[in-house]
Each structure stands twice: as C-alpha cells, then as structure tokens.
Assembly symmetry: C2
Amino acid sequence: MATAQYIKKDGIIIIGAGLCGSLLGIRLAQRGYEVHIYESRPDMRKAKIDGGRSINLALSDRGIKALELIGMQHVVERDGIPLYGRMIHPAEGEATYMPYSGRSGEAIHSISRGGLNKSLLEETEKYPNIHLYFNQRCVDVNFDEHNIRFENGKGGEQYTLECERILATDGAGSAVRRAMMRHTTEKRFNFSQDFLTHGYKELSIPAADEKGNFRIEKNALHIWPRGTQMLIALPNLGGSFTVTLFQDFEGPDGFNALNTPEKIHSFFDKYYPSAKANMPDLVNDFLTNPSANLGTIKCYPWQINHFSLLMGDAAHAIVPFYGQGMNCAFEDVCVLDDLMDQNGDNWVEIFDRFQENRKPDGDAIADLAVDNFYEMRTSTTSLLFQRKKALETKMEQAGLPYFSKYALVTFRPDLKYREALVRGRLQDDFLLEYCKTVTDINQVDYVQLQADVEAYIKTALQKSEIY
Amino acid sequence: MATAQYIKKDGIIIIGAGLCGSLLGIRLAQRGYEVHIYESRPDMRKAKIDGGRSINLALSDRGIKALELIGMQHVVERDGIPLYGRMIHPAEGEATYMPYSGRSGEAIHSISRGGLNKSLLEETEKYPNIHLYFNQRCVDVNFDEHNIRFENGKGGEQYTLECERILATDGAGSAVRRAMMRHTTEKRFNFSQDFLTHGYKELSIPAADEKGNFRIEKNALHIWPRGTQMLIALPNLGGSFTVTLFQDFEGPDGFNALNTPEKIHSFFDKYYPSAKANMPDLVNDFLTNPSANLGTIKCYPWQINHFSLLMGDAAHAIVPFYGQGMNCAFEDVCVLDDLMDQNGDNWVEIFDRFQENRKPDGDAIADLAVDNFYEMRTSTTSLLFQRKKALETKMEQAGLPYFSKYALVTFRPDLKYREALVRGRLQDDFLLEYCKTVTDINQVDYVQLQADVEAYIKTALQKSEIY
C-alpha cells in the first residue's frame, strides 16, 4: 500500500463524478475550494460506458435551478426536448393527450443522461481548482482517522488519502454508505433497501428517417398503461425514443418468462401493438438489454463525524416514476449551497443542518415516486382520474394559482418535497371525491372549487399539525 | 485455503450454536439428520463469554412449546423463576402489582441466557449425529455453488465446505445475511435496520444475603416507568436481579452524559431512588458495562436458492420489550418442524413455505415489541391504562375466555403473532374508549363487556378483511 497522501486543508474530496458529483464539484470550485473528484469508472468522455442505466432523463425545474446556480442553464434548451404533457395510449382506441399543466410553458425536458454528464465534466475543465481522478475506486473509509482507501484501476495498487472531509455522491450503490454500515455501529445507522417486484428494461423506437423525424409525437411523454405493467417512451435528439418496459420479474408475462423471440412478439402483440409497430429492433433489444431492479434506499444519519456526508442517490435512491431522481440530487446541491451561504466554512453546522433539513424531503420524494408508479400504470386510464385531471387543467387554464400534485413536485422548486406531498395528497383526496358527483366539468365554478380545495387543505393541516 | 470438504447428502449445516441453533440442531438430529453446527465463538461451556448481552430472559409459552418438542421442558421448572405479574414502581408512592393474567398459573419465567444455552449444548452430546465446531467463523457464502467459507480461529486458515443446505441461526449480526446482501442482487433482497435512539445498560441488585434471599419481590418483573426512560429488573437463581436501564443516548440525562460517579448518583437519586437503595455496585456496574443499541432488523427473502434459510434473530431481530426474542426464535423451530411433518424431505417446499408463513409473524412481533416500549415506559403509570388492565384481569378472573394483548402474545402459542397483534390492538382500542366512561369497574357486567369486545373485533375484521 502506498503512503498516505494528504489533501490540503481547504480541499474537499468528492466520491463519484456522476451527475450530482460533477455539478457539486463545479459549485464548490466556484466558491473557491480545491475540489478533488474521485470516480471508479473511466472518463466517460473517452471510454464507452456500458449501457443498461437510463439513457435519458426528465429534467425539470428543481434540476434546472441547480444548473442555473452553476451557470449552465443553456444546456436545457440546447440538449433537451420539452415535453408538455403525457400521451396516453390505451389498450384500445385513440391516444389521449393530457397536458402537465394548464399554464403554457410548464414542461419537463427529456435529456440524455450521458450527454448531460459529459457537459458537466467538460465544464469542470474551466476550473483549475477541480481535479478529476478516474478509475479510482473507493474501497473503504476510516471515519475516525479521516481517510479513504482507493484502488488504482481494477485490481490495482491500493493507497490511502487523508482529508478534512468528503462528500459522497457515488450513487445508489454508494461505497461510502456501505463503509458507514460496516464501521459506524455506534452511530445507529438506520438503513433500508426495498425493491419492487417489478423491474425495467430499455428498448427503442428509432427515428422515422435519416432527417431525424419522430415516429410519434415528439413533445410528450408517452405512456401505455396496462394495469400491472406499463411501457413509456421519451424522445432523444435525432428522432429516436428510449422506450422502457416496467414489468414484474415473475409470472407468465414476467421478464423471466419472456426469453424467446416468439414469446416477446406475442407479449407485445397482446399488450403493446401500437408501440410494437414502431419498434423494428424489439426482439434484439429485448434479448440484449438487461432487466434491471427498481428499489428505494433510505438511510440516516447521512453524515458521520462531520467528516463525510452522503448526497444524491447515495443518501436517497428512489424509483424513477416521478422523474425526480436527478432533480432531487441536483436540488441537494442547492440546499448545500444555501447552507454554505448561511454558515460560511462552518462545516459542522453545514453537515448537521443538511441532513436534518433534507432527510424529510428525501423520504417524501421516495414515497411520491412509488405512489406515481401505481398512478401511471393504472389511474391514467380511469375515467375518474381523467375527469380530475381535466378539472385541474381547467383550473390552471383559468389563471388560478392552482397546481396539481404533479405540478407541485415538478414545477414548484420553491416548495419542499414534503410540502408538495402533503398538499398534493390532500388535493387529490378532495378532488377525487368531488369528481364522483360531477357530470359536466364545464359547469364547475372553478374559483369556488379552488377556494373549497384550499379550505379543505387548511382544515386538514390544522388537524394533523403536519406543518 | 484448504481443499473443499463435502458434507454428505443427508447432512445439514447450522451456522450459530446459540439458543436457536442448538435447539434446532437437537430437533433435526431427532429426525435423523446429520447435523453440523458451526459457531464463531468458543464453547461457552469451557470459555467465559464476554458479557454485555442480556443476562436473563423471559421464557414463555411459545418458547416452552419448543422445549417440549425436544423433550427439555424440565429446564423451565429447574432453572426458571416464574413471574406472575409486573411490579410497577412509580416515581412517588407505593409499588403496585399487576398480574399478567387473571388466570392462575399463567406466568413467564426468568431464566439465564447462558445457563439455558449451556443446557442445550449439553443435550446435543446425547446425539451422535450432532457435530459441534467452535471458533469457526463464517466468512462468506457462495449461494450459487452451495458452499461456505470459514475461518479456523481468529485470523486462522480459511477453508470451504460444500453442502446441500444451511440453516443460519447466527443472530442479529448474521454473517449469512450479510453475504446474502452482498451476493444476491438478482433476488432483490429487502432489508432494513432501525435503531431506537434509546439504548440499554445492564446493572444489578445483589442477593439480600448469603442464603440467596431476594431484596425485592421475587416472582415479578419489576418496572420503574419514567416516561421517556425506564428501569426493569428480572430475578436470577441465587437471589440477585439483573437490572436494565433503557435510556436515550443523547440529552442531559442520556447515557453519553452519565460519565462520572457524581452524575450517576445524582441521576439515580432523581429518578430511581427506590431501586438505587438496593444497588450497592451501581457506579461500578454503570461505568464498566457497555451501553448497547436496540434495533429491529427485517429482511426478505429469508431463503436463497433453496440452499440457505435464515431463522431466529438472523431473520427477524427485535427489541426486547415483549420478552419474545428467544420465544419467537424457538417458535421458528416449531414452525419448521410442522413443515417437515407435512413435506418430508422436500426442502424446496419447506424453505418456501417457511418464509411465506413465518414472515408476517416476524414482522408482527417486531412491531408489537416497539409498541410495548412506549406502553411499558409510560402507560403503565396512567390511570386509564391501569383501569383497563384491572378490567381485563377481572374478565380473566371471571373465567371468561378473555386474553389481554399481552396474554395473546405470551400465553397463546396456538395463535400466530399476526393474529395476536390484530386482535390485541382492537381490544385495546375498544377497552380504552370504554374505560373513559367507567367510574367503578366492580359494577361492570363482564359477560356483556366480553361480548361487546368480541362484536367490535368481528365488525372491524370484516371491514378490514385482515384475516
């Protein structure tokens, strides 16, 4: 083992050069810190990283706010494709378009995960105080002696780095979090990993032609809800769509059973004929691409000895059904940045406040994301849900300050996730009951309805004292 | 590494020679299996095992049923001290005795953990088909190739054993469960560890004299409930009591703050003067004995590849407030034994049915145990709780087939834990409401009340369709 090296006093080590780590690194560099980012994988700008992880993501307001913080908001327009609503493809009949909001301009943006990560890594080159180290895997962390052990390339020499503090943005399988579990019994480290019985597999709809035209509506998130399973599609620059099948692993139609071209054809003929018509590479994609797990990770504390802090997926990995994984991780950086404004270099205070303030929001978006799986795969086809959605759109179009649960989570970065959860669930309870009694939504007095919703929320909050 | 050894086809490896593992080994030996029990610690009959783990335990009907199964029920009378109720020591005034049941003879039994474990290990000597291996730590498990790697003594040579199946009874920190977490991603292994902010520390009340007389009532579980903390005491053969303080780690009165003789004296003078009067070794015990964590571990699946199965604390570690940890682990053996009756040597079926049947009961007793912490430290002093308890005792004394929640869990091994939980909680809801309206419990028509409770439970169950 090589001799321990020492990262100088104003230096911060970031573990993981993914989306969150590279954005965080840029922000810390802007604030004058010496930033050392260690990444276990090769430099993705040079090497081809193996696929299987989500190819595109939905970037929305919370994430954009973080890009603005580091001055990179231009990537949204340059690299993203705005999606203004959901295109619902029922099992029979025509597709229905449901806008995300009745306000014009409220959109989420389909963006390439790899492309965005590369843009962030490129940006780090502008900062001489950012140092990138690739192929350096974190093997262990000593939380008492404040050092980290790395492996230099796969199976390579191990060495130890001493430092003042580390920020761990090494994702759902965080090596730092695993070290916390191994070594910090006295911290009573609470941890849970919960998997859905469903997994996901990525497939594709190629461009319609060489000019990059799209085969289906470009500016929508497509959903084929089928009760216990669903297919979704997000557009890519160049005319293709990344398609994702969410399905149980087990059962006669489960991933484990769909193992021959015949079975795959027959499954898609049965459930997704309209999508299949646009998927010439279906069988090859299906047999080649992995079926990946969907899980939620919660843990606490996030900081140990004011030496290490978990951020992003390392602290709170969630299922993808709200399109908030990256947005939540980016928002973590904004929250940390606010705390640096308030506390200067007092990292004891920053670490303590970060985990206290942010943990309830990590839990909230985790629970919202699981909720939305059930909503997306089933409720989007129910008449009651569609009526409620239409009513909400009318209220938003009427210029009322109304935001659906989805809009609260997605378009209101001024609200904490926990606030969006409580308010969103109460609104839904009220409106779903209300919609049972409504026959013609055009005859509804929206102003009165909005007032009734507000009154219901106010009463419920007073009762529960949630806020 | 030594060459792999092979355990012959009818052999079963048990990891862990604790209470559950040794009882399980005896039962399997009685059924004719070759049983190989590997234990990481030395033979406790020869070496002194370090303390810190609970010194005595409350053995009750579920555990006794398992001892009966292997023909060892005689240890209850020989080594146990029956406790017929709780002696509640309030902050001021006289102690109150609350029987566990209005039926005579229903008791739990205070028994030495180490003593019982040694008795079980002694018993294994009667079976030539039980093989014990001490100081053999399980380092890793290969679930695909069906082998286990052990370390022969601390830092010693490692070797690999191939076998048909292993039963892991290696406790809350199970090495087999940790291996499952590392290696079985494709099994979507759900796991949670949740710690209370409270810990526990063991103290003692010595015997009154050399004849082994007791300083306080022998046949009761003593509780000093103090709202956010409590002290309890269980008797030992020989006249002493093991006393346990349950207290927060943090705060001005927390374990971390109580670090000088002066602070310990002052703390016990303030909260537990009546206990302190009987604790001459208080300060030394307090400063010498560790403050240990209290946590709940849940996980699923319990079996992997029909090769390994978690049982006892390895599958479901719980907090000690219902006195059911050992009883639940012993009951696991009874459940497995029933499944062997039904399925013969079909271990695929046995493993599958065991985890499916038993998981809801493991979850139920885990939740009940956390509930009881709040009940023991607070409710035992409330007038409403005492009135409810007195009413329940009256119903039991009246010869009615009534069982309090505590009695359902403790004295009714014919009920599953999940059934005891649902019925017990519903009873409590009903009776606590009822007691708000009662002024004189002697004027209550118990027969009618029992019928009302039953009707309430029936309606609630029909509504929720829990059964």
